[in-house]
Symmetry: D2
Subunit: 475 residues, 4 copies
């Protein structure tokens, strides 16, 4: 939802379970808790040991599975699921996951979070060899690579295929008889594994474990391939040169506050980011306010650290749905607000600190600063709980092109003027990494900093495309 | 939404505008901002000076008006609207407001928030005189009283009718050529008036003014009748014995945090309630958490006052909709959570203060306390930012019967045991009134305290029914 | 469906049953068989002896009751239902029948087929006495008259009310404990009574009896009031001056071919009309074709009598639904056909007799004649199996105003030229009456001939309105 | 619709147009006229010379394209479309056609009517070479064969692919720049070509030409490949050993009565079948009736030949839709009818001849005979206007397995007893062929007689499957 305000679109989410009598229902609740990672489409695949069946659709999980659709799936003890993020274009049913490929050798269903940076090159090559692609999804590339691999066992085919794809990926794969899980050698996307009685569960975020009553075991390792079947779970590394670099934005913006990424609670991390921000960029003010929902934790941290009271200066309408009628330009000029509105009584006559987690294009920040001033704020100080985003992401986040990223072109002072703030400050990269406090060595403690400093952990190719440049984006 | 968790159902909301070219669209945005006051149904009536047309339906405002339905209304400069709260039973299209009555003398559309306590008696009497009722709504009683009044002018008919109805009501009425607004002599329900350029607007809550870009003027007075037409606005008192008694729950639970009731911001009031609660009922603990969404402000106030950090110990799933599939009993026992889940990383090994705004039946509190313990909280201290609710409401809030209200039967200590908390404390009535700080004289400063102390500001009749006792409840 | 082609709109249909365990389901199947009498809306009311409940909606019977809506009705042994015909304007849920009126004295549900010619006068008078009308339906007038009647028993109230309404009506009324059936003193609309085991059934057409497995007993008499309850059925005449005059168009066009009206099968009557037409207006030709669906029987009769073979010269697309996209003017000029198309192979090079049941505005006839010629017919002879329609109907059929009826303004020869036929002949009034062959005395054997000869069997008032002149038409 | 009554399911229908400004709209109207050939799903693909876009869905043409979906397609001068027949299982979106395959070499959209008898063998072989199949449709096999063909030009690739597929097929294929049309070497499925101004049109049935205003040119020849692009149309034979064998059931049951197959009008053919039936199997009776809709023409022919009057003894409810609630067993025993009901007044006390076009399982015939007797028929003589169906169809018609075909197991006399008729007679194979009167040499004049005599015109393989034996059937 908020994504629409800011232009920083969420990625996708995956879920899997093996060994539970009501696997498809557990997957439904799991996907429901991952809904914030993708609202365009969702699907569930389930196996009963003999056959894989899939139900998927466009819309929210509750919309797709609201009227008995879950019952169309046969019962089974293994299931995987996927939520897909919102794209501008409509349609795209073909790209809703899990993708399901059937052959006389058996079925394979795939769900994927991430972005394959050499997808175009691989696709071209496969088509030249006679393959036909049904979707525009990167995920299908993996399916064709598996299909064409010379190995006999599916696990070996998959390992073979994984050596050929580059980029960010968290794959969950289901066949009639097993579930396979793979994370890219940089561990760019989060992926955790847990237990639910005898069953194994895997999810993009640990909040899914809490919702389904599962117990967290550990995060999947970069370059790790896990195979789970009725004989248990086995793990191995399919890549030898792994270089941990998890997406920083998962802590800053994407993940649900109740999730833990590599053992660190996201709400706590955000609160610490807010505290660190208060230390680095102090300000004299009357009230602290956050941009709902993702910046509330940081705002509370800033307030606690600074001693300035946290107040509800901005409020978000919960009932903005797909069919909301946007006010015309004329009505907007008359002051009709959408989605977000300032609380006059709170900000009137006050020096306001507006804490936000990031600035992408700057248009939303400008709008909010302006709303706060119209509502009577005497000063508006903007504090951002992350460094300036200067580079596009090729790993599954739909930021924007270089040109559209305001911090790619303008200095902090120029941005301050453009958004109309009295002061504007960003958190330092070092401050950010320290505040999050991941338990790893190295300058950035295993965080991907590419969108801040341009150091991409993988190769980027001339034909690597940004998600929104594709006809139909994918995870 | 939250209402479903707690069993304290929201009431209705009304909106009106006179003198704006796009009156029906403004009403749409106004209703949208009042959506939290009722999610079962909504409607808009508009007049172009010659004819009143109405569109209404069941569901959310965005669902009812999502596909061109707004265009089915003709253009016009006056409009009123209504959102209706959720009842257990389905159907009930007849009761969706505005009710619209046509006759050869002209049209009248009515929207109403409140509850008429002598509706049954009046209805019986009117039926004996030959009237036929189409709906089970109280609102229709007023229409029949107007119709049968001997006066010539509509305003006089309305005044005559208002002297006969008892209880809580905020009426907004639209005819071909004017808009009329009336508030009961106790001012039990909130109702404010504002300006939008030359146009007049009226709304149950001031948040609607902020959203449509209107400027707040004042709250409607108890016993006041306002008539607005193309010649301007006139006001008079239709009742001589007015005794201000606004619903306390509007501050505590119902109204949106960005609304102001009698000039007091709701978020600020709630934060003050939390501070007062911290003063009255101190506790040694590690973290403060609030039950989302309505108790967050109080929790932050408690944290600020006590110096114990506020944390996100409970999280609410934003995507729970009407078609959400509830987990089976079996799955619930396996730990599958709905709507609300605890954040293990935050509460594990901690002494937790759980701030909530009220306890109705106690079942939700028990569930949350239990979830917090399962997530590892070593102590759970429950603090309620209002006094115990011991009496049912006859003024438009769907609490419960006497028997179902836990505080009507049990002492605080007994409730504590029932919900499984380590300690449980409520705010004192005096503390509550002081913390809200309304600018009026008197022991309770013009607040209705009936649900706390049983002192109902109006007569209650033997046949006065609670909302949920009716076949189809109404506002 | 065809109505849209011709501009001669169907009326409504009613159904009732008393004494069957699954009364509401039987009513569903009954209404389904009466669907041709009205496609705009439908509803079912059912009583279990203590309470009347109603479900209704807009659309087809299968659409309204397709997803469990029938289960929303409680079980009960008495039920009534209604199908409502299509009007231009949308909305109109208020007018969908059965209308349901509740009071502390009990409930009453009404379903009606016909048109009250003094409805406006009665409405004005009732409003002056304080009544409020919810719908624009005539049916509601009867409810108010009943409500205001001084008598104690409902049956006496109803008789009292019936003496005040003038026009055409077949009423079916349901209370908690009985079903009442009334037909106007002219018996203008068809209404039959049957048995289904111990249960009584009543329906606008006997085809409903065949579908639900009931046995036809007799047609309801003009001016008859029937009361059915658990003690059985009683009948009496509420009017002393009855003058049988059933609508001729029921035989010619409206009723389903498998229905019997006053014991005469409709298909047989139509075939006889075709035979009589062949006798009265012989023609040299190669093939006989009928305009589907209503004129097929007459065409077959014409073929049998004349010895010229019947062929399928015109075909109707069965899949034209509400969402069918009409071809643009440009596409229509390029020859894109809708709904009806000629069969080139059948008519090419042939002298074609096109049998139709009536001509209203003449536009459809012109279109069909032109299509037949384009498909290669060398001659087109139009034969109409009824006399020219020269006068509007005030009794529930939505013909057109005087001005729009082509036969009201033009001679047969002028019409022939306007529609482009080689010859055009109508059936004589006497021939029509003889061919139908009703078992009654008198010149027209108890048929209403008003649309042909202007002799209306009831008074017509200055403020009697045609159905399509009302804001919302009704039955 | 009728298919549900009889268990003889319709196949699919294809349409294509090249060179018209509103190609996609013309395709919509074309598909609409072919709706009787498939009600499960439909789709349209359109090209603007640079890009192919596709919209498809499940349901009727008017449902899929009812709300602006047609506008989602870009404009273009070439388009193809498909209607798909109803299967038991739900879902199956993947199999809705046109199938659309994109690659860096360009796009290809395919629509298909028929059944590939060696599909399983080809699929197995292709998968072994690394191909992945997305659908279970035969049509996809052709796409993979094309993709893997070594030729350079698409036309040559297609010819190469066509030499490998065996069975019945009418393919319409669209690329960015041309439309290709291919019919199997036996011409088992009908396919005609026409002109619409400068544009070329192709359709499964000529009724589509009449509806869109196109002029019939000729039927596509067995083994013919037609390529149409902006330079015009070229034709060649891709197969040298063609053996004309069009499906007899197209004349008897499937095609619309206004279509012409190989120049013979279907209604006329059916009427002649009825006449021939009257000659071969005379009977003393009072009335002739047909089973609607497909047997009406034959019944009229039988009546004309025999001199016994044709009457409407059976009537079909037009409003039975997908959401129709089937009566419970109990209600059915009480006589509640669905879909089809007898007309008591017509058949009571009469010796009835019931003409039907075919008997598949016999259950429907038994039901109808029984209904006619219950309605009072004194004798029921069943006459079938085709020979007994003794063998399953492998060419796109969903009959039944050998075991389910009543005539495969029982003699005519045994069938007569099973269905409860007084007499039962079938048309002779020779009489059928003569009555249809196709203009070709040979014993059966180029008709496929396989379902009657087991002489399949192509090889049948051990793994050739019947449509309903597939997971998801296809055209």
């Amino acid at each position: 939802m908020f994504a629409e305000i800011k232009g920083l679109n969420e990625e996708c989410g995956v879920f899997g379970i093996w060994g539970h009598e009501t696997a498809s229902q557990i997957t439904y609740y799991g996907l429901h808790s991952l809904q914030h990672r993708g609202q365009e489409g969702a699907g569930v695949a389930v196996t009963n040991g003999e056959k894989v069946s899939v139900v998927k659709g466009t819309g929210l999980v509750t919309e797709i599975f609201g009227h008995g659709e879950l019952n169309q799936l046969h019962n089974g003890r293994g299931a995987i699921g996927h939520v897909r993020y919102a794209t501008a274009g409509g349609g795209g049913y073909e790209n809703v996951q899990p993708l399901h490929f059937r052959s006389h050798e058996g079925s394979i269903a795939l769900a994927h979070n991430g972005n394959i940076v050499n997808a175009n090159a691989l696709k071209h090559q496969l088509e030249s060899q006679g393959s036909i692609f049904q979707s525009t999804s990167d995920t299908e590339v993996l399916a064709h690579l598996i299909k064409r691999s010379g190995y006999r066992l599916l696990k070996d085919k998959l390992k073979n295929a994984l050596t050929m794809v580059k980029g960010a990926y968290a794959f969950v794969i289901l066949t009639e008889t097993e579930m396979m899980v793979a994370l890219d050698p940089n561990g760019l996307r989060p992926l955790s594994i847990g237990r639910m009685g005898d069953a194994y569960v895997v999810a993009s975020e640990t909040c899914a474990f809490d919702v389904v009553g599962a117990v967290y075991e550990r995060d999947v390792e970069p370059g790790e391939l896990i195979v789970i079947n009725d004989e248990g779970m086995t793990s191995e590394k399919f890549s030898l040169s792994n270089n941990r670099a998890i997406c920083s934005m998962e802590y800053i913006y994407f993940s649900r506050p109740d999730s833990n990424v590599d053992g660190i609670n996201v709400h706590s991390a955000r609160k610490n980011l807010g505290k660190q921000l208060a230390i680095e960029t102090p300000v004299e003010a009357d009230v602290i306010t956050g941009v709902p929902d993702s910046s509330i934790s940081a705002a509370i941290g800033f307030a606690e650290q600074s001693g300035i009271p946290y107040e509800l200066g901005l409020i978000k309408n919960r009932y903005v749905g797909r069919t909301f009628i946007q006010p015309s330009q004329e009505l907007r000029e008359q002051g009709v607000k959408m989605k977000l509105s300032p609380v006059r009584k709170i900000v009137e006559g006050k020096r306001v600190v507006m804490v936000d987690d990031s600035i992408v294009r700057g248009t939303t920040s400008r709008r909010i600063v302006s709303m706060l001033r119209e509502a009577g704020a005497t000063e508006v100080h903007v504090r951002i709980s992350s460094p300036p985003i200067k580079n596009p992401c090729f790993y599954g986040i739909d930021t924007s092109t270089h040109e559209e990223l305001i911090a790619s072109t303008y200095s902090v002072e120029e941005i301050r003027k453009l958004i109309g703030a009295d002061t504007l400050e960003f958190l330092s990269p070092e401050g950010m990494v320290d505040a999050i406090g991941r338990p790893y060595e190295g300058k950035y403690r295993g965080q991907c900093m590419a969108c801040f400093n341009g150091q991409y952990p993988t190769e980027i190719y001339p034909d690597t495309v940004l998600p929104h440049e594709k006809e139909e984006v994918n995870c």
